[in-house]
Amino acid sequence: MAAERHPKTVIRWAVAGLLLIAIGALAAVGKPPARKYPNRVPVHFWHRWGGEWEKVVAGIADRFNESQSTYEVIPLSTPSGGADMKFMMGVIGGDPPDVMSMWNGAIPQMAANNLLTPLEDLMSTEDRRFFEQESYPVIRQSGMFRGKTYGVTIGSDLYALYVNVDHLKEIGVDVDKDFPTTLEGLCQLGTKLHRFDQQRNLVRLGYDLGYFQYLAYGFGGGFWDDEAGKLLLDTPRNLRALEAIVRERKKIGHDVVTRFTSGLNTGSDTGGWPFITGDLSITLDGQWRVEEIRKYKPKMNYRVIPMPPPAEGGTPMYGTLSGNFMIVPISAKHKDGAWQFIRFWSGFSDREASAACFNAGGWLPLSHRAVETETFGKWLRENPQFQAFLDIVASPNCKPMPPVPYLQFLNDKIGRAEDRAARGYVTPKVALQELQRTVADELAKRKEMGYED
C-alpha cells in the first residue's frame, strides 16, 4: 500500500496517462495535407465557399500557384455563418489568415476596429491607377471605409429578375416583346403566373415583390446620403417602396406567400433552386445563379432582366451591391503574397487569367477591363443572360451599402421593418418611423459609449 501511495510513482503514472491522452488527441486531430510547394512562402487564404463552390475556389488557388514561383496559396473553407467570428478570433489569437474573402457588409465594422490593412499600402502606383480609374465605381466603393480601401472584390453580387420563358408562354406572353417595363406591370404579370391548388395554397409563385433594401433604390430612395454622410431611413421615396411591397403582398396574402416560400429550398449549390425546379416563375436573385443554371439545367429557357422601375418617379437599372471582397488582416504575416493573390484574381495583372477566375464562379468582376478580355467574351457568349448584371453594375443608380460600422445592425433592422409592414402589424409609415427611432437609439448608445460614427 505504501508503494502505491508514493508520490513519485503516482506522478509517473499521472504523467504517462496525460501523455497518452495528448498523443491520442493529436492522432485524432490528424495532419494537414502536405504542401505542394514547401519551399515557397505560404499564403493562408480563408474563404466562405463550401460544397461545389469550394472546388472552384481551390482551382483558382491552384492556378495562382502555377502562375508564379514565390508564393503558395493555401485555401481553407470556413463556415459561411461564422466566418467573421473565426476571422476575428484568428486575429486576436495571433494566428490570422494572410488574406480572407469576406462579405463586404462586415468590412466597415472590421475596419473601424482596426482589424484590416488599408490595401492602398500594398498597391503599386500602377495598381492604384488601375483601381481608381478602371474599376466599377460601385464595386470600388463597396470595399471602402472612411476614404480607405479595405476590400477588393473577387466576385461581387447583384440582383436581377430571372424569368421562366415557358411559364410566360403559357399565358401568351412573349418575354422578348411583351415583358413589362414598369414595376406595376411586373406585379400584374406575376399575379397572372400564380398557380393554386384547391385549398388556395400556392403551388407556383408567379412573382412576389419584396426585398425592400434593394427595391428602395428603384424609387429613387436608399439608405445613405453620400454627400451629407448620413443615413436615410424614413424618407418619402423609401416609404413609396415599402408601400408598394405591402400593397402587393396584401393582394395574395402574406401567409399564403410565407407558407409557400418557407418550404422552398434556398441552397445555392445543389441544383434545387426553386426557379430551376419550376416553383417560381419570376424571381429576383443573384448573378451566380447563371452559372448554377448552366451547371444543373443548361437547357432551361430563361431570361435575366433588370428590375423595372415604378411608372412614376422611378430610376432605371438600380440596385445595391454586395459580395465577396478580399481583406488582409492588420497582423497578416505575408501581406505581399496576399496582395499578389488579390492582384491575380481581381485582374490587376493578367486580365485573361482574372477573367477565367470570375467566370469560374459566375461572379461580377472588379473592372470592365476583365469583361473586355477574350476569355470573358467567350464565356459571355455562352452565358448571354449575365449581360444584365454587367449593365446594372455600370449604372449610376447601382449603389453601395451604407458605409457605417453598424451595418449588420442596420440591415437587420431594415429587414425587420419590411417584415412588420408586410405582415400588416404596422403601416409602412409606422414601420419606417420605428426603424428611424430604433437606429437613432442605437446611435445614441454608441455615442455615449464613445464610438466614432
Partner: protein, 293 residues
C-alpha cells in the same frame, strides 16, 4: 503545510486537467466578465470603462432586451412544467412490468443523446410547411398545417414542442427515483384498500419529489440558457422576434455587433435572474419535497 501537501497533492494532481480547464475556461472568464460588463469592449481594442452605461441602456433603452427576456420567461414557464409532466408520465409508464420494457426505455432515451445540432436540422425538415413530416400527416387528416417556423405564433410553439424531444434524459432520472421507492409502502397501501390513483398521489409523487425538484432546478437553468435550437432553426430570432431568446440576443450582441461589454452586462443580468429563481425554488422545497424514504 507540508503535511497538507503530502496528503492532498495526489488528489489534486489527478484532478489537475479538469482544474486547469475550469480555471482557464470558466472561472477566469466568469470573473473577467464582471469587469467587462462595465466597459465598451469589442475584443480587439482594450476595454474602455463606461461605468453603468451598459446596464442603464439595457434596462431603459433596449426594447429587444425586454422582448427577448419575455420570450425566454414564457418559454421557461411553459416548457419546464411540460417537461416535468411528460418525464414523470413516461417514467411511470416505463416502470411497468411488461415484456420488452427495456427496449421501450431505450427507444425513449435515445433522442436525448442525439446531438442538438443534428436534432435541430432534422426538425427543420420535419416542420417544413410543404414537404415536412408534420404537415404531411396533418394533410392526411384533411388539416392544413401552418408554416411552423415562418409564423410568429407557431415558431415559438414549435420550439416548445421540440423541447420535449429530449425528455428521455430526465425520464431516466425519474425512473431511477421510482425504482427507489420502498415496495412496502405500496403493500401497506394495498392493505388499506388504496386505489391506483391514490397510490400515485400519496406515495409515488411524494416519494419522487426530490427527483422532480432536481429536474425542476436543472430545467429552469436550461430554459433560461436556451440557445442552440433557436440559433440553428431561427438564427435571426424568428419571425417578429418570436424566438429571439435571451441567449440568442446576447450572442448576436457579442459576435454579430461586436458589443462584448453589453453582452457581458446581459450575461450578468441573466446570471442574477437564474440565481434568484433557483434560490426561490430552493426556499419552497421544504413545503413540497419529501426526503423520507
Amino acid at each position: 503545510m507540508k503535511r497538507w501537501l503530502r496528503d492532498n497533492s495526489t488528489g489534486y494532481l489527478f484532478i489537475a486537467p479538469w482544474l486547469i480547464g475550469f480555471l482557464v475556461f470558466t472561472a477566469i472568464p466568469f470573473v473577467q466578465s464582471i469587469y467587462l460588463s462595465f466597459t465598451r469592449y469589442n475584443i480587439i481594442t482594450p476595454p474602455k470603462w463606461v461605468g453603468l452605461a451598459n446596464y442603464r441602456m439595457l434596462l431603459t433603452g433596449d426594447d429587444l432586451f425586454w422582448k427577448s427576456a419575455l420570450v425566454t420567461i414564457r418559454f421557461a414557464v411553459i416548457s419546464v412544467p411540460l417537461a416535468v409532466i411528460a418525464g414523470v408520465t413516461l417514467a411511470i409508464l416505463l416502470n411497468q412490468n411488461v415484456k420488452g420494457i427495456s427496449v421501450y426505455r431505450t427507444i425513449f432515451y435515445i433522442p436525448s443523446i442525439v446531438p442538438t445540432v443534428a436534432t435541430s436540422v432534422v426538425f427543420i425538415w420535419i416542420l417544413n410547411p410543404t414537404t415536412g413530416l408534420v404537415n404531411s400527416i396533418l394533410k392526411s387528416f384533411g388539416v392544413q398545417g401552418p408554416a411552423w417556423l415562418a409564423d410568429p405564433f407557431w415558431a415559438f410553439w414549435s420550439l416548445v414542442f421540440m423541447s420535449l424531444w429530449g425528455v428521455g434524459g430526465s425520464m431516466v432520472i425519474y425512473l431511477a427515483g421510482l425504482k427507489d421507492i420502498p415496495i412496502y409502502l405500496y403493500e401497506a397501501a394495498i392493505l388499506d384498500g388504496a386505489s391506483p390513483i391514490q397510490k400515485l398521489r400519496h406515495i409515488t409523487l411524494p416519494m419522487i419529489t426530490p427527483v422532480i425538484f432536481f429536474n425542476l432546478v436543472m430545467g429552469i437553468i436550461g430554459s433560461f440558457q436556451y440557445f442552440t435550437q433557436a440559433y440553428i432553426m431561427t438564427p435571426s430570432g424568428g419571425p417578429q422576434d418570436s424566438t429571439l431568446f435571451y441567449s440568442l440576443y446576447l450572442f448576436n450582441r457579442a459576435w454579430k455587433y461586436l458589443d462584448m461589454g453589453y453582452a457581458s452586462a446581459m450575461a450578468w443580468v441573466l446570471f442574477l435572474v437564474i440565481v434568484t429563481l433557483t434560490a426561490l425554488v430552493f426556499r419552497t422545497q421544504r413545503k413540497w419535497v419529501h426526503y423520507g424514504g
